[in-house]
Every structure is written in structure tokens, then in C-alpha cells.
Assembly symmetry: C2
């Protein structure tokens, strides 16, 4: 733990870069524990925030002219490279709520706005970035990103049920080009038409990715590779306030940790999955980015070691 | 592992006893993968079978005059003590089916038959048994069992939604007298009126039990004690044929292992939870008791070590 802290301090200027494409949104969220209006959100936002604990993320996305200056400041303060963040029209807006069981977001309103005509344009300076996270966004934009980057060492892709329903063909194409596929359990079952997660994971591995991670919310996460299976626990949170962005935070922390350690072994993937779970579990403890704004790498390392303790037998 | 095998061989006559009260049933089950008619089932049957890999179970239950002789032979061959098995009227019959997701049994028919007027009568020779499993049955019969036994060292209690709905008062009384409470996740949420499993577990611990185990099917199991939390993974089964009896098998293996090792530390509870998960995962791979009939302690030990591997990080 201390080692990681020292390395981070000592090499602040040489931190590895992660390219993250996804959405930046203004979210209106209601849960049984409260409500926020036009909070900073979006898959690329959560992912970049989470990755920034380990690496230096460069964000590719679009916002509107209504985007609050304070939010831009927040992203900059996190050391997120905003050169690839464009501005056009109005910011993507999502409005949703969670009922008592908190496992599934229900959408009230989706206004794509500037996202609708967003054309991916990766800045020259970003094209050589070795770690690429295709966070949840239109799969055609994910594919376009892959066309523009040079030769990434690791491509991680995430998606959601909306794209499985509406853009399955480009989505499958993008998955074939990725090294790691992230899905939640419902999406895995839907995409591969099976109730069985082990079967779904095998189908996914047959498409091309070397690893498939199935996120199961409070039940933890599964990592499937060719011959190995890893089962990461969920953290027994007593206070879940808002699960929005947990999947994106998971992905951001996962790739951020890999970019930092530059070790793509199955063993290190396991650690990255646990870091993903740790950051996601923190994220659920408050609305929007409120929790990730406050925690430090020390909080992350402490919970990481709790994850160790709760699975020893 | 070898040690356990040797110990079992060397002490076959001195195996510890576990008293198991619950149902013995004739089950008619349909899943997307097949159907069985009047198969041997019931909570005490699965639990005794599972416990018999580790200890010598003594069963308390009732069957009817229609109960097939072959099934009696099967129970005897497993070394299950049937002195406390009474015969009256017709055998309890359950008919149910599972849909594609296999997580929840849907009941078509329940005929209590002999179970309805069953009066618990623990044989004198059984009253001193130190490990008592109150498997799923009417909580009044669970309480009556506790009244009749002397001074057990460990009482484990299981239940189901039916009793939570219809006999909550005696159920709560029985839980207060137990050392370990087993519940599945849905029951835990229902019994303690919370969506949050960590909160439910804390409420349960406040009632009296020293440990609460929440079974989550394919998602594994959680063990909560006063200050510790243990998270056992689910086994990534590709072929789930019939989940009937998985919870009962879990409980039987759990207490069977504890009775064998006579170690009630939190650390040994963790191992017992993993043995419970291992036996339950085997049980789901075939209909009724077909799988548990075929496997040996070697199969159990092998999967136990796989559980180890899939959680290292």
C-alpha cells in the first residue's frame, strides 16, 4: 500500500495515460435516499474520475454550452486531460430513479442533445495512448475511436442494454476488437441469450476478448479468461445512496490500475477487478460524484485490504 | 485435504452425530432441462445426505405409507440414522417448476399429508446430540425439537418465505434460540424489511444468533458475525439442471463439517460455508439427489480447492 502511494507521489508527471471515450452528462437522479438535479455524470466522467486515482486519463466526449463552469473546474482539478472534450449545443441529460432494491435504474427522460451529432475526433496527441477505455456510448462511436487510435496495448469495452437492443451489429464488431469486455449480469444474459453467466462468458470469449468481466452490483464481479475464473466479492455496504456510475467507476478504476502497473497478467487483472469493485463500492455511498470527490487513494487501499480479509478461508 | 480423507477413513465409527429435523418429501419437479416425478426430496433428506459426507446424521421427520422402500434403502445406505423417522398417512408431496432463470421455485401443488399432524418426538438416544439442524419445516416443530433436546452445542436454523408469511411469531422465537441463522437473500430482505443485506444481517445478529449466513444461489453466500464478514463465491456452473435442495444441502454440509471438526471459531465457520457451497453446487448439477448420490468426498475436496483458486488475488 505504502509503495503505491510513494510511486504515485514520486512519478506524478510520468503517470500513464488512459484514453476514455464515453458520455458526459447532467443527471437528475432520485433514489429512496434523496434527489439531485443536473449533477455531473456520464460514463466517461465517472470512468475518468475513477481512473484518476491511478493514472492520468484523457477524456473524449462532448458537452453543451449549458455545461456549468464549476464542473469543468472539477474535472480539471482531477488532472483529467480535457483536450478531447468538445462543446456543442446542449449537454446530454439523463433523468432516472431507483426503487427500493436499487439494482436497476429506471429512466424517466433521455435527451441526447449534443451527443446525437457527436463525431469522434481523437486529438493527435492522444492517438498513441496505450490504454483505451470505450466506456458506455453508441458502439459506432466506440468503433470510430478504435479506427483513429494507433496501436493500443489494451482495449476495454463497456456497454448497456440500450445498445444491445438498438445497435447490436456495430456493438458485436466493437466487442470483437476489444481485449476486455465489461457487462453487467443482465446484459450478459441478454447479449448471449442464456440465463447462465458461465455460458455467456464463454460465448463472449469465443468472440475475441481475452477476458470478460461480469459486474453483478452488490454480488461482486466475475472475471473469466480462457482457463481461469476469478470471483470478486461485493462489499457489504450498509448505506447505498445512489448506484449511478458504479459500473463506469468500476471500468475506470480497472483500466487505470492496469495502466499504472503495466502488467496484463491474469493475476494482475484480478487485482484490477478488486480495485474496480473498491472504487465502485465507494461511489454508491453518496449521490453523483460526491463520494469519489472526497476519497483518497488511502481510502481505496484500506478497503482493498478489507476485500482481502473478507474472503480468506 | 488428504488429512481430511485420512481422518474420515480412520474414524468412521467415531463420526459425530448431527440431529436434523425437517421434511422428507416426494417431489415432482420440472425445469427447462427435464422433469422428475415423485423423486426423493425434502429439507431433511437433502440436509442429511449432505451432512453424511462429513458426519453421521440422525433424521427426525415423517413419511407416509406410500413411501417407496427403495428410498428408505437409499437413506440407510448413506448411514443416516432413521430411528426418528415416523410413518403415518401419506408422504408430504411438493410439485413445482423453475423457469429459465432457475433462481426461484414456483409451486404448483403442496400436499402436507402426514406432515400436517406430525408431532415431534425426539428418541431418547438422540436427545444428547450436540449439533442440531432445524432444517426448513414449521417453526413450531423447530421450537418443539429444541424443547426436547438436552443441551446442544450448536443450533442451526433454516426457514422459507412460507413460514415468514404465515408463522412469523414462532419463527422469530426459534431464531432467538439458534446460534446460526440460514436465509436466502429474498427471505433476509423480507424478514427484516430492508433491501440491504448487510442491514438485514445486523438485525438478525441483534436477535441472538452469533452468525447469519445469507445464501445467494449462483452469487455465493455471505457469513456475518459480530465484527467480521466473509464472502463465499458461487461456483460458475455451466450446467444447472435442478436447484431443488441446494439450500438444504448447503445447511447439511455446513453443520456436518462443523460436527466433524468440532471447531466453532469464525475461521472454521468460513470453511464450513465453503463446504456448504461446494456440496450445494454439486447438487444443482442433476435432478433430485442424483448428483449427491454419485459424488464422493474426493469430488468435494477437489471443488473446495477450486473455490480457493478462484478467489486469490
Amino acid at each position: 500500500m505504502t509503495k503505491i502511494l510513494k510511486r504515485m507521489k514520486g512519478t506524478r508527471n510520468k503517470l500513464d495515460d488512459v484514453l476514455i471515450i464515453g458520455t458526459v452528462a447532467l443527471d437528475t437522479i432520485e433514489t429512496p435516499f434523496g434527489k439531485v438535479d443536473k449533477a455531473l455524470g456520464g460514463s466517461a466522467t465517472y470512468a475518468s474520475f475513477a481512473a484518476s486515482f491511478f493514472s492520468k486519463p484523457a477524456l473524449i466526449s462532448v458537452i453543451g454550452r449549458d455545461f456549468p463552469k464549476a464542473y469543468l473546474g472539477l474535472l480539471q482539478k482531477r488532472g483529467i486531460n480535457l483536450k478531447g472534450l468538445e462543446m456543442d449545443d446542449k449537454t446530454f441529460h439523463w433523468e432516472g430513479f431507483y426503487e427500493y432494491d436499487m439494482n436497476e435504474a429506471k429512466t424517466r427522460k433521455t435527451e441526447l442533445n449534443s451527443l446525437e451529432r457527436f463525431k469522434v475526433d481523437v486529438p493527435e496527441s492522444h492517438k498513441g495512448i496505450k490504454y483505451v477505455f470505450l466506456a458506455n456510448i453508441d458502439p459506432e462511436q466506440q468503433l470510430e475511436t478504435l479506427r483513429q487510435v494507433n496501436k493500443p496495448e489494451l482495449v476495454v469495452i463497456d456497454t448497456m442494454n440500450f445498445w444491445i437492443n438498438n445497435k447490436k451489429k456495430p456493438l458485436m464488431e466493437a466487442i470483437k476488437k476489444a481485449d476486455v469486455l465489461l457487462l453487467n449480469d443482465g446484459e450478459a444474459r441478454q447479449l448471449f441469450s442464456t440465463a447462465n453467466l458461465a455460458s455467456a462468458a464463454n460465448s463472449a470469449l469465443n468472440l475475441g476478448p481475452k477476458a470478460v468481466i461480469i459486474k453483478k452490483g452488490e454480488h461482486g464481479a466475475l472475471l473469466f479468461t480462457k482457463n481461469k475464473h476469478f470471483n470478486a466479492p461485493g462489499y457489504p455496504l450498509e448505506n447505498i445512496k445512489d448506484p449511478t456510475g458504479c459500473g463506469d467507476s468500476f471500468g475506470g478504476a480497472f483500466i487505470g490500475y492496469l495502466a499504472k502497473t503495466k502488467d496484463l497478467s491474469e493475476r494482475n487483472f484480478r487485482k484490477a477487478v478488486v480495485y474496480g469493485s473498491v472504487v465502485a463500492s465507494h461511489n454508491a455511498e453518496d449521490f453523483g460524484l460526491n463520494r469519489l470527490k472526497r476519497i483518497t487513494i488511502r481510502d481505496i487501499e484500506q478497503r482493498y485490504s478489507e476485500f482481502h480479509d473478507m474472503r480468506e478461508f
